[in-house]
């Protein structure tokens, strides 16, 4: 087994293990840490896939932004929310069955489809190329994304205002 393969298994293990740990953890704060582990695993997978820029972006946005936001959310929603309430049995069974079905279907699709074999080497500096693509081929999506961010900024600011005024607009 090559070093790459070992790294792949470790990283996918981290990713999936972290995800499962979120599922089974009772304390939400620990769940956030497991999320961190899982996201780190994904970042590692990106590096294996020769997407260093995306890996760094993943760490920056997810770990520096989203997990911290979640911690903020946890702190602001009171100490009573750290333990999840017990689930109803029926719901658990339904959720399990439907998820299992999804997993099986997805894996079957992955297995049955004829995928192109091997990889095609990417030429040169991928970071610069991504930048070029963003501002040429995908400039429309880029603009949409920036508008989306602006809307989010304004919307969240409004929410915060609502929260401060006790829910009254």
């Amino acid at each position: 087994m090559s070093a790459e393969k070992v790294a792949f298994f470790i990283l996918s293990g981290l990713t999936l293990g972290g995800g499962l740990a979120i599922l089974f953890s009772v304390r939400l704060m620990r769940a956030v840490v497991y999320l961190l582990v899982s996201l780190f695993g994904v970042a590692g997978l990106y590096i294996l896939l020769n997407a260093e820029f995306l890996a760094a972006l993943q760490v920056l946005i997810y770990i520096g932004g989203i997990t911290i936001l979640m911690v903020f959310g946890l702190m602001l929603t009171g100490p009573g929310q750290f333990v999840n309430p017990a689930e109803s049995r029926l719901k658990a069974v339904a959720a399990g069955v439907s998820s299992l079905t999804t997993a099986i279907v997805l894996l079957l699709i992955v297995k049955k489809t004829k995928w192109p074999a091997g990889t095609q080497a990417l030429a040169g500096d991928t970071t610069a190329e991504i930048g070029r693509l963003l501002l040429t081929d995908h400039v429309f999506a880029f603009e949409i994304a920036s508008v989306l961010l602006l809307v989010v900024l304004v919307g969240v600011a409004l929410f915060v205002r609502l929260a401060r005024d006790g829910g009254k607009p």
């Binding site: 999936l16 499962l20 979120i22 294996l48 989203i66 979640m70 009171g78 999840n84 299992l100 609502l162």
Partner: protein, 100 residues
């Protein structure tokens, strides 16, 4: 050499885990975590395809997904905090009055 299929399997499994979290958990923040995992699963697929096909479009798409995920998380957390302030809970089962 890791094949595309292996990456896609990881993506599929991660998606399932995310789905399980969303379905199992009642806490809004947990659900948000599940959604983030599902988005990441999609991203793994994008990047894997990008690697297999030798184009960067997959990576660019993944970047947009990350942007959307960040925006979504910000709004979601704001909503959850507001929900907590108004209803005193972040349990999605108890916050039912949007059901009508």
């Amino acid at each position: 050499m890791i094949t595309l299929q292996e990456y896609l399997s990881v993506g599929a499994l991660l998606f399932t885990v995310g789905l399980l979290i969303v379905l199992f958990r009642q806490n809004a923040i947990s659900i948000l975590m599940g959604i983030e995992l599902m988005l990441n699963a999609a991203n793994i697929n994008f990047v894997a395809f990008s690697n297999a096909l030798g184009g960067l479009t997959g990576q660019v798409l993944a970047i947009f997904v990350v942007v959307a995920a960040a925006a979504e998380a910000a709004v979601a957390i704001a909503i959850i905090v507001l929900l907590y302030q108004n209803l005193g809970t972040v349990d999605v089962e108890k916050a039912r009055n949007l059901n009508g």
